[in-house]
């Protein structure tokens, strides 16, 4: 690797050194010489953390002199029994995430810090709409960007043929739209007999085509899941519990790992809105981060045969205030962190143009200032995984982002 490659490996270091003008230099470089798109049977899983993850707690910048003061009562430390896990000497990882630390060290995870979508307000629901619709602003939520991505691919390809998987009784918006969506959720009660389902399929076919279509997709998904074996235990915790996250990850991995399964999936974990008593190394947020960490390990083991072709991208609608609020929690903020995990990730990299934590360096003197657009990251990942061209990404998948180049070199 040349000097440029080394530079690329540690963008955070570069940013810390103050060479901000080199930011995203890799964006203008030729695409990495990896196997041509199409020769690899890629898998992409998007995990949405609902409630706005506190990126400053998940990946604390312990090297920043402003961090400890802002985070009075919840700050993490480099030393001691509950020490944060080292990443690159400046950034650390929350101690509840040992699996992610291991994947990072093995070159299978990258972390994008001080990132956000183009949304700058503080409504969860608009923030999620923007994150998932892929539109420039809220209120245009009839389809999600992953759905339009699939609709933009040639119909014969494995990706479009198998559609996207939306996990949950209510699937995330990011996969909803014209392209086929499969649905799955951890089973919680006895399934109805096949004959009843067949008869309803016939009735809907005659009287209600939209319902006929969603039922057909449910049946397809169930067929794949049943071929993949083991009946799942019923009941269990929801998507805001560690156990629930693990079960959801197991099921999604089983479907996405199947030969005839969907290549793209979206799922959501909940409970990240930590207004009060957020906790530091232990506590409410730590429990959730531990659940996410367990889910990442579950993806790794459940997708073992295809892990080398897999990217799991973990995103949230925005971050939280840099300063702790009056109730030892944090309020709605802007810049936060995103994770890229998987065998296809060009890992062990902190990707950040670090803005700093001094009051004048914060967004509106409140939030971590976003310096990396999460859409550039998403565009870079899916461009390399699925061979999408820049114009399609800029017009159909993320409309109006022609000026936002796909970040390059994220994928091995």
């Amino acid at each position: 690797m040349g000097a440029d490659d080394c530079e690329r490996m540690t963008p955070s270091r570069r940013a810390v050194l103050g060479a901000a003008s080199a930011l995203f230099a890799w964006s203008y470089m030729p695409k990495f010489a990896h196997a041509a798109a199409g020769s690899r049977d890629s898998r992409f899983l998007l995990v949405v953390l609902r409630g706005a993850l506190d990126g400053l707690s998940a990946v604390p910048p312990l090297g920043d002199p402003g961090y400890a003061d802002l985070r009075e009562g919840i700050a993490l430390a480099k030393d001691g029994p509950e020490a944060a896990l080292p990443l690159d000497g400046f950034f650390y990882l929350h101690p509840a995430m040992p699996n992610l630390a291991r994947l990072y060290a093995n070159g299978q995870a990258s972390i994008v810090h001080a990132s956000a979508t183009g949304y700058r307000e503080r409504s969860h629901f608009d923030g999620q709409d923007v994150l998932e619709s892929g539109q420039g602003g809220p209120g245009k939520t009839d389809s999600g960007w992953l759905n339009r991505l699939i609709a933009s691919l040639p119909p014969g390809e494995a990706v479009s043929r198998h559609g996207a998987l939306g996990v949950g009784v209510v699937p995330p918006l990011v996969v909803r739209g014209q392209a086929p969506v499969l649905g799955w959720a951890p089973p919680r009660m006895a399934r109805a007999g096949a004959d009843l389902v067949q008869r309803l399929g016939d009735l809907y076919g005659e009287r209600d085509p939209p319902l006929a279509l969603v039922l057909k997709r449910a049946i397809e998904t169930e067929l794949i899941a049943s071929r993949q074996g083991a009946e799942q235990p019923r009941g269990g915790g929801g998507p805001d519990s560690a156990e629930g996250m693990k079960r959801i990850a197991e099921g999604a991995a089983r479907l996405v790992g199947a030969e005839d399964g969907p290549r793209i999936a979206a799922l959501a974990f909940e409970g990240w809105d930590t207004h009060a008593n957020e906790g530091g190394a232990k506590g409410r947020l730590a429990t959730l981060l531990g659940g996410l960490d367990g889910a990442l390990a579950t993806f790794e083991s459940g997708l073992k045969p295809v892990w080398k072709d897999t990217v799991v991208m973990v995103v949230t609608e925005f971050g939280r205030t840099a300063r702790v609020n009056g109730t030892v929690g944090t309020d709605h903020g802007t810049g936060t962190v995103a994770f890229l995990v998987g065998g296809a990730v060009r890992g062990k990299r902190m990707i950040a143009d670090w803005p700093g934590l001094k009051p004048e360096q914060l967004h509106e003197q409140r939030d971590l200032k976003p310096t990396t657009d999460i859409r550039a990251v998403a565009k870079g990942v899916v461009a390399d995984l699925f061979g999408l061209s820049g114009p399609v990404l800029a017009e159909k998948v993320f409309p109006g982002t022609g000026g936002l180049a796909p970040m390059q070199g994220l994928i091995v």
Partner: protein
Amino acid sequence: MADRSEPSQKVLALQRFGLGLKPGRAAGVADVRERLLVDIRSEGAPQPNVSFSGAAPIGRALYAFEDEERAAREARRVAGQQGVGQGVQVASAPPAPGQPQGQMTAPAQPVPQFPQAIYREEAVARVQGALEAETGFAERLVQFWSNHFCVSVAKGNFVRAMAGAFEREAIRPNIFGRFEELLIAVESHPAMLNFLDNQLSIGPDSRAGKRRGRGLNENLAREIMELHTLGVSGGYTQGDVTSLARIITGWTVVGRDARLGFPGSFAFNPGLHDPGGQRLLGKVYRQEGKEKGMAALADLARHPSTAAFIAHKLARHFVADEPPQALVAELTRVFRETGGDLAALSRALVTSELAWAAPATKLRTPQEFLVAAFRALGRKPDFGQIAGPLGVMGQPLWQPSGPDGYPDTNAAWATPEGIKTRIDVAAQLGRQAAGSVADPRALVEEVLGPLASAQTRQAVARAESKPQALALLLMSPEFQRR
């Protein structure tokens, strides 16, 4: 394709605005409009029958429960220290062969703890009221407003115990009053103050704020403007959020010390309140104490953005995901001209030709579907029969995943897994009710009447069993859509 005859329109109206036909009372669907309007009464929606009267007694009982629990925990800790780690030994012993883990030390039939016990009672009472209602229009409005001003029992024991009381005290009496009254009742209810953290919020310049160096929590203030009144694009700034948060500091819940009133009830605590004037949406509020917040909420309730936001949400809920613009405009006009008179607004909704004429596109929400199914089948469900299906269908009672409530569009409910799960529920209901329903074909006529399509009648008639016939009825497009 759809039957647009008058009787069919009237049955559809009963599903659109209410909870569907009740078997045995189908004696004509004449005067549907008048029957719906009967529900609009100045005293609000009927109250469900529960043993606790309100937030204050629930709060007192909750605190007592927590004190007992703490004492018991302490006693166990002391006993554990004296017992030289015996408890640890038992807990770590492997389960006997064939014996599932967790059953070794647990009592055979655990008694639900106080917050869960009262949540169960409230849930059953709420559903029972909906089953008894004649048309169910008022119950549907309760569901609508309860979702608009939602609280979630996932927040913790306090909201779990208070969610039912919140609906009974803040929502039901006010759904036919003025929006302003409803808003103030909701935002000053202990359940809401706890759910959105306002009882923790301390004015930075208040006595307590200066002493403790702690401060604001703007969660409730933000959601009041974004979700409860103006709507997210209603024209406010981050500065307005912070101002409103300061204005409502001191709106809190009485603790177990009973210093400011009955434990668990609302109180204004001047020691937490930020003194002085605050500028909100260009106007400065200088009232003393609680009056400052009352004045701010009253202005928010009368704001034009609020009228438009509520009108759109109401039309979207009852009529179509993309409601007719003219209907939204009409509801907005009524809201503004009557100063937010919710009786007038409800009347405008059920008498609008546009609201009647729209085709049945909306899928019933899981809660609507389950209640309509229980009504159709004549069931009196227990808590498990309510909580189980609602949980798997993604709409447990008083437990949305965020303060924006449950989704209200087909995109969220008419999904592969959503429909598949509904079929599972319908199959189970069909099995449970098969013994008590004489003839599913007759039931189709009783609950769908002229709305039933030839295909649905045929599917039910040709079912291989009675349970399957009932499941087909419940999952038919005419039962599912309204």
